[in-house]
């Protein structure tokens, strides 16, 4: 008794010394939250919807999934989406779930440095703790692959990561995803996907000279995508004028086929093959319902 009391008082002193509070001091072995309550199946679904697999894999290279994406050539330089397998050094195997949460939701690397906005973390800020735990569980199931396909190659001044802190202050907020009370569940689900996880605006909203999304150009299209690609405007009026319906759009997100019989191009085919074709019909319909009835204000209009 006496012994355990002295241990306890010792611990209290230690906690006070470190400025830590007993309330947050973990007891027992540190739990792995992902193993405890993450649903890997759901996480893999979110990873599809979020484009993790599309961007961080390069099927054409013959490399395994998630070992790194094809180079993204931009005006600022070339970005290489890194290895996200469970490898300790080449991938994210040495990360904690906390590192993962901060990287995905805030765009900050485990060493504290900011990520480039080529990684669309601004659209992932709304993910819940459960979403993160599920994603983490899924990523932990990816077999480790010791492969580093390359590193970013950026010119001055974009190679100065500190500059990104200014960028973050100006542009790091994604479009709104929280439910709107008087709208349907389907519409709200669509909004959560379109404005958030599926990050449509990463391509369909034009960017300014420093790569920030132009506030007045929300989903108004962009002619200035990496590799000279372009993305059409997808505001409700644009879609209606081009003849899109909920069913036609939902099916296009499944098949890559447009109502005129042609396929999507400019990389949208890839978005479908690696992303939206894997979603449920209900989620694709929700995205279409929201896109055709999207009331998100374009700031600055």
């Amino acid at each position: 008794m006496r012994r355990s009391l002295s241990i306890l008082s010792g611990l209290v002193a230690l906690a006070a010394l470190g400025g830590a509070s007993l309330a947050v001091w973990p007891i027992g072995a540190p739990p792995k939250p992902a193993e405890r309550d993450g649903d890997a199946q759901r996480g893999a679904y979110l990873a599809r919807a979020g484009g993790c697999i599309a961007c961080h894999s390069d099927p054409g290279s013959g490399h395994p999934a998630l070992t790194g994406g094809a180079p993204i050539k931009t005006a600022f330089g070339t970005f290489i989406p890194p290895n996200l397998t469970a490898h300790e050094t080449a991938g994210i195997g040495a990360w904690s779930i906390g590192d993962f949460a901060r990287a995905v939701r805030q765009g900050v690397a485990p060493d504290g440095s900011p990520y480039y906005p080529a990684f669309p973390y601004a659209f992932y800020g709304h993910l819940s703790d459960q979403d993160i735990a599920d994603l983490w569980a899924a990523f932990q199931g990816v077999p480790a692959q010791e492969l580093i396909v390359g590193t970013n190659d950026l010119g001055f001044p974009f190679n100065m990561r500190a500059g990104l802190k200014l960028w973050r202050a100006a542009f790091a907020e994604g479009p709104p995803t929280e439910p709107v009370a008087d709208r349907s569940e389907v519409w709200n689900r669509g909004r959560w996907l379109v404005n958030g996880l599926a990050h449509c605006g990463a391509c369909h909203t034009d960017r300014n000279l420093v790569g920030g999304r132009r506030p007045g150009r929300y989903l108004a299209g962009s002619d200035d995508l990496p590799d000279g690609d372009n993305a059409p405007p997808i505001r409700p009026d644009d879609l209606a004028e081009a003849g899109w319906t909920v069913s036609g759009l939902a099916y296009a997100l499944k098949s890559g086929i447009m109502p005129d019989g042609d396929t999507f191009g400019s990389g949208m085919g890839e978005v479908v093959r690696h992303g939206t074709q894997w979603l449920t019909d209900a989620d694709r319909t929700a995205m279409a319902v929201f896109l055709l009835d999207n009331t998100t204000p374009a700031k600055g209009d």
Binding site: R48, I53, G141, D238, S255, G261, T263, S266, G269, R273
Partner: protein, 194 residues
């Protein structure tokens, strides 16, 4: 102006419209392949509503469309892409001949998928339409599900696909084997800009 707006409007920015626009000036083999692409696009357009659940599936119409696509794929398609046939106006990218083996594989894959679609024409649609459910046996419950061809990887045309195997799929799944092939090729080998 309306036409231009439509073009910029994106739904029509690719293929058919641009091809129709370009046909006026195209000659020789470039024109032939534009016509071939157009006939395949029209075949896809005719049966798309059946696959999307907007119209009742018509097995005979699906068979006809599948035959049209099969007839224009494989060698029939490759013959229309002789080395360096880049005469204006064309949407073909030089990458086709830089990666000829890969292009051949996609053309052959299209033929195989279209023949599978012909066989699947009478099969009816997937009940739910959700790949994870319809293929749960293949994708569920694996510890390595994020890699190696499981639900987090392996988007390519599955190895060992034959018209017979595709012919046993629900017709909308078989149609997807065709359309994903079209899309994969257009993404990589077609110029999308105006």
């Amino acid at each position: 102006m309306t036409f231009r707006k439509l073009l910029l409007g994106g739904a029509a920015i690719t293929g058919l419209t641009a091809a129709a626009f370009a046909h006026s000036g195209a000659t020789g083999v470039v024109k032939q392949r534009m016509e071939a692409m157009k006939s395949m696009g029209e075949a896809v357009k005719r049966i798309r509503p059946m696959m999307a659940g907007e119209a009742a599936p018509d097995a005979a119409a699906i068979r006809r469309a599948a035959r049209t696509i099969a007839a224009e794929s494989g060698n029939a398609m490759l013959e229309k892409f002789p080395q360096g046939s880049m005469d204006d106006p064309t949407e073909a990218l030089p990458r086709i001949w830089e990666e000829w083996g890969r292009f051949v594989a996609i053309a052959d894959q299209l033929e195989l998928a279209a023949k599978g679609l012909e066989r699947a024409a009478g099969n009816g649609l997937t009940v739910d339409g959700h790949m994870m459910d319809s293929q749960s046996g293949m994708m569920g419950g694996q510890s390595g599900m994020m890699g190696g061809g499981m639900i987090m990887g392996g988007d390519g045309f599955p190895d060992g696909m034959t018209p017979e195997r595709i012919g046993r799929m629900p017709v909308d799944r078989a149609f997807m084997m065709v359309t994903q092939t079209c899309s994969a090729c257009h993404d990589r080998y077609r110029q999308e800009d105006d």
